[in-house]
Symmetry: C2
Subunit: 264 residues, 2 copies
DNA sequence: AAATTGAGTTCCAAATAATGGAAAATCGGG
DNA sequence: CCCGATTTTCCATTATTTGGAACTCAATTT
């Protein structure tokens, strides 16, 4: 009923690709940008750039504030909010995340691998509500987060190799793994253990333990983690959660298979 | 230094516009869609549609799941998360929202008017964390939310008239205002009072009180609100918060002027 | 087993939209 | 009120998109 070819990394995305590159540029900037700032970075002729920005503004993807400043548009929020709310993987995982949160009392994350980053799909906190969006949706490095490392650990060797070679490492903390070799060694260890630690590798004072969620067809790679402050969470304590975490991850994978398999 | 013409509703957005319409179509759907489903709704020839979808997938704006199903892509989350995190208006308002939350103990919302909807930019809850994204970023109707109605109340007459005439009303609850006339009457009353109630007009059992945040140049319209369950919040109780709410809204507006005025 | 149906994918000449260099309009400050 | 910096408009050229039809593949029917 449904033929499937290799759609992936093929060819160009034409005009859309150019627009998205521009959108990304503005969205990644620290602050709203002036036309000239963008011109310098975008490497396109004035006329072209001006029209492209005009289109992005007209579509609500960018905002054109007083003073001639371009900033990310709010339509992005609406689009994202909708896609998040209906994301099947997240919906399936949610009750399991809640369960983990209650068991541990700490913050639980759900993330998936996209390109060379981890995107957090959900986050369940214990106490005070506080900032959420600041994590959900965030693209974080694979090589220094628990979820990232477990995601790597379930990739086939060739994909893992290719991905790791393409990374550029940044030393967020003294513990961050900053070489392909160190990372590959760590991944080998994680494959054996079936779970990973984040030993304050991304943020000082923050530790976590993570387990992979794997589909045998390799159609996707993600993970769950339990995160908290180092003063409260020793590695021993985290390790106690490894077993239930692995089990929960397996439950989520099972639930996915049920959902995706039969009823398509 | 910065010329400013009326950029608005002018002309087309060419190829980008078509792509966005398609993205919106898939994002608004209840569930992932098959090619044929989209074909029926998009009103475009097969070949064209196929290439456009391919581009959207290649850009990560859509996902192409097994079984040939198209679903919203995760890149949207990343883009939105970034734009939210840096949104100046939200950053400025946040401490004030927190203050309101503490004063009332109830949930506080911040929203702005975009086109004919309210987009929630932030939400601060009292107790249990629970779902956040399910509100932030959501586009909600103007005519039956506190923030929506106060936003309308600060529009110039002609803009108000035009916007209200273009609305299509849906009766969410028995209390929902479902005619342009009723809404305009309500707005007139809100203009006098300087604040608005939501008397279970959007969700049964949910009330709120809202105040407008206004820039005299009309460059934007938004508001703050305090929301909670009807059994706990009588209109009298809500009215007690009207004064501090109005004051806070004014503080936010002042802070905006400081930020936008001098330092551009 | 062969034929048919329904769904998705590919192709390419014609139509449309994007490009980009340069000129014109506009703002802010001295 | 004029100057220099910045943004916006213009339009002939060029590149991309368009869309009808043909093709592929898998599942269902004859």
């Amino acid at each position: 009923m449904a033929p499937r070819k290799d759609i992936s990394r093929e060819s160009e995305t034409g005009t859309l690709g150019k627009s998205m590159a521009l959108l990304e540029l503005v969205t990644h900037a620290e602050r709203p940008m002036r036309f000239t700032d963008i011109l310098a970075l975008a490497g396109q002729p004035r006329g072209t750039l001006h029209r492209q920005l005009g289109h992005l503004v007209a579509e609500g993807l960018l905002e054109f504030a007083v003073g001639g400043l371009y900033a990310p548009g709010l339509r992005l929020l609406d689009l994202a909010s909708r896609s998040w709310a209906k994301n099947e993987f997240r919906l399936i995982a949610e009750p399991h995340l809640r369960h983990l949160q209650q068991m541990s009392g700490e913050t639980v994350h759900l993330g998936v691998l996209r390109e060379t980053s981890i995107i957090y799909l959900d986050k369940i906190e214990g106490q005070q509500s506080v900032r959420m969006y600041s994590q959900i949706g965030n693209a974080s490095p694979v090589y220094c987060t628990g979820v990232g490392k477990v995601a790597l650990s379930i990739l086939p060797d060739d994909a893992l190799e290719a991905l790791v070679r393409s990374l550029s490492f940044h030393s967020y903390t003294p513990q961050t793994l900053v070489s392909a070799e160190a990372l590959l060694t760590e991944v080998a260890a994680i494959r054996k253990a079936g779970f990973a630690f984040d030993r304050e590798e991304h943020e000082p004072g923050i530790r976590c333990v993570a387990a992979p969620i794997r589909m045998e067809d390799g159609s996707f790679a993600g993970g769950v983690s339990i995160t908290g402050p180092a003063y409260r969470l020793t590695l021993e304590r985290l390790e106690e959660w490894a077993a239930p975490l692995k089990q929960t991850a397996e439950c989520i994978a099972d639930a996915m298979r049920v959902r995706l398999g039969p009823r398509r």
